[in-house]
């Protein structure tokens, strides 16, 4: 019985370690809604994976990437307000995914676990998958950290100094897609963005540099996972929502620290 908790803890922390640093960029670049849209589209990825009997992790990564490319492409077209566009895509893809999954014959899928995560059912193989993807993502993020930070602060300035803007942005999209694919199991499609932005926002009040903020975000995210799982274990609350709730509580506490604001 204890291995259930252990695997859940390991997988949750593995995900939190990477959602923290990546989440800081989501916060700095004001992409919370963008992340939400990609997360919702991952449900469609699951549906596609089931239809064509592919590995669902891969089909989710693929679907998220395609959506990311569509979004970037559409953003160049300034005729539609960006948040309207994201709203349309976000909810359409979520609804589409739900409909496709429900319509599929011979497949019984637990919708609740897709929407809100199912951390307590992860097995050893899942844990390994989480750590492989997290490690790859973290290494890639370290690689593009400086140029990504440069274009986040000022795109024109960064590009003038020679940052390969399109390549870096594309890598960043890929990282978001990878993280969504692993975070889905932990908190579910609907709550992924919270794991990206809440720890990062919480870390803000304790940080003086971008790197500190990324590090603290990892730490705070991991702590939220521990707190949430403890609650889930002892008072039998759903794991994913408990983790998000813990993160929210930590954020509230951080508001009392005004030192670095």
């Amino acid at each position: 019985m204890i291995d259930v908790l252990l695997f859940a803890l390991l997988a949750g922390i593995g995900v939190a370690l990477i959602t923290g640093p990546l989440g800081t960029f989501i916060v700095w670049r004001r992409m919370a809604y963008f992340g939400d849209t990609l997360a919702h589209s991952s449900l469609l990825g699951i549906a596609l994976g089931l239809i064509f009997s592919l590995n669902t992790t891969l089909s989710v990564i693929f679907t998220c990437l395609v959506f990311a490319l569509i979004l970037v492409g559409l953003e160049q077209n300034k005729n539609l307000a960006s948040d309207t566009l994201l709203g349309i895509l976000s909810h359409t893809s979520l609804a589409f995914g739900l409909v496709v999954i429900t319509l599929m014959p011979n497949v019984k899928v637990d919708l609740m676990s897709l929407l809100f995560g199912d951390l307590l059912t992860v097995n050893f193989k899942d844990v390994i998958t989480v750590y492989i993807i997290s490690t790859i993502t973290l290494l890639m993020l370290v690689k593009i950290w400086d140029p990504l930070l440069a274009i986040t602060i000022d795109e024109d300035l960064g590009r003038t100094e020679g940052v390969k803007f399109k390549l870096v942005r594309m890598m960043f999209m890929l990282l978001i897609a990878l993280v969504i694919a692993v975070a889905m199991k932990v908190v579910g499609v609907l709550l992924i963005t919270s794991l990206l932005i809440i720890p990062a926002a919480t870390a803000r009040s304790y940080s003086k540099t971008p790197e500190q903020m990324a590090f603290f975000a990892s730490l705070i995210g991991s702590f939220s996972v521990v707190l949430g799982l403890l609650a889930s274990w002892f008072i039998d609350t759903p794991a994913g929502p408990s983790i998000v709730l813990s993160a929210g509580l930590l954020f509230l506490i951080s508001l009392t620290n005004k030192k670095n604001q």
């Binding site: 602060i153 003086k208 971008p210 670095n260």
Partner: protein, 254 residues
């Protein structure tokens, strides 16, 4: 005579069907200071972005010298307040060598703020920080987009002085964008007046007498004077005169 750093030949840029820039020709020679002025919507930003090679042109030719090294100072930084960053880290984004970073901060006079968060800098200090980043890699062409924006009058004068000083030290060409017609650096060799097309260009005193310029900006006297005004004192908030060689940022001027 050395070859030009950058040459624009009959460059046009369209936005939808509207012409933002119409057949603009421009040559920037090494060491030259050129000021770009024009009303809002005249295409100043578009022209700067073309020079920086950030956007494609629709017609014309741009020639860049192979040894062109551009240092760019954007108009304003919009750093999200959730992004904590110190002045030192801001420079280290492009220059890993801390010694070079501190030398440059020394040059622009904000070395004491090195460890401070960017968000705590005053308007004048922020402009100096941007200048520091622009000169980090010893450019031979500085592009400054409204460099004195958001700085009080005394600070503006100090900033112009600093730019002149950097121009001398680096021996670089300077392109300065301004919408302020009243203040042009005394050392500007050339003024380019832009209103989607090049209205007129030449030495400051020539341009101010040009009919196209007068039509665009009106004939109010002294719209265009070279900046020769000097302070030998400054006014405190309460109005009393304080004889001082230091302005609020601790930079001496006379």
């Amino acid at each position: 005579m050395s070859s030009p750093l950058i040459t624009l030949n009959k460059v046009s840029k369209y936005h939808n069907t509207k012409e933002t820039l119409s057949s603009v020709s421009l040559t920037i020679n090494p060491g030259q200071i050129i000021t770009l002025i024009g009303p809002n919507g005249a295409g100043k930003t578009t022209l700067v972005k073309i020079i920086l090679n950030l956007i494609d042109i629709d017609e014309g030719v741009v020639f860049r010298s192979p040894d062109l090294r551009i240092g760019y100072m954007p108009q304003k930084l919009h750093i999200d307040q959730t992004l904590p960053i110190t002045l030192e880290r801001f420079l280290r984004l492009t220059e890993k060598n801390t010694k070079i970073c501190s030398e440059v901060l020394e040059e622009v006079g904000i070395i004491n703020q090195m460890k401070c968060p960017l968000s705590s800098l005053s308007g004048g200090e922020m402009q100096r920080a941007l200048l520091a980043r622009a000169i980090l890699h010893k450019p031979n062409f500085l592009v400054l987009d409204e460099p004195v924006q958001g700085v009080d009058v005394a600070g503006q004068e100090a900033l112009y002085k600093l730019i002149e000083e950097l121009h001398r030290k680096l021996n670089c060409a300077v392109l300065m964008v301004s919408h302020d017609l009243h203040v042009v650096m005394s050392s500007t060799n050339e003024v380019l007046c832009l209103n989607n097309h090049v209205c007129c260009h030449g030495r400051p005193d020539q341009v101010s007498k040009n009919p196209a310029f007068i039509e665009l900006f009106g004939e109010s006297t002294n719209t265009y004077t070279t900046y020769t005004h000097h302070h030998d004192h400054k006014h405190e908030l309460h109005g009393e005169v304080k004889l001082s060689k230091l302005d609020e940022n601790g930079f001496s001027h006379d």
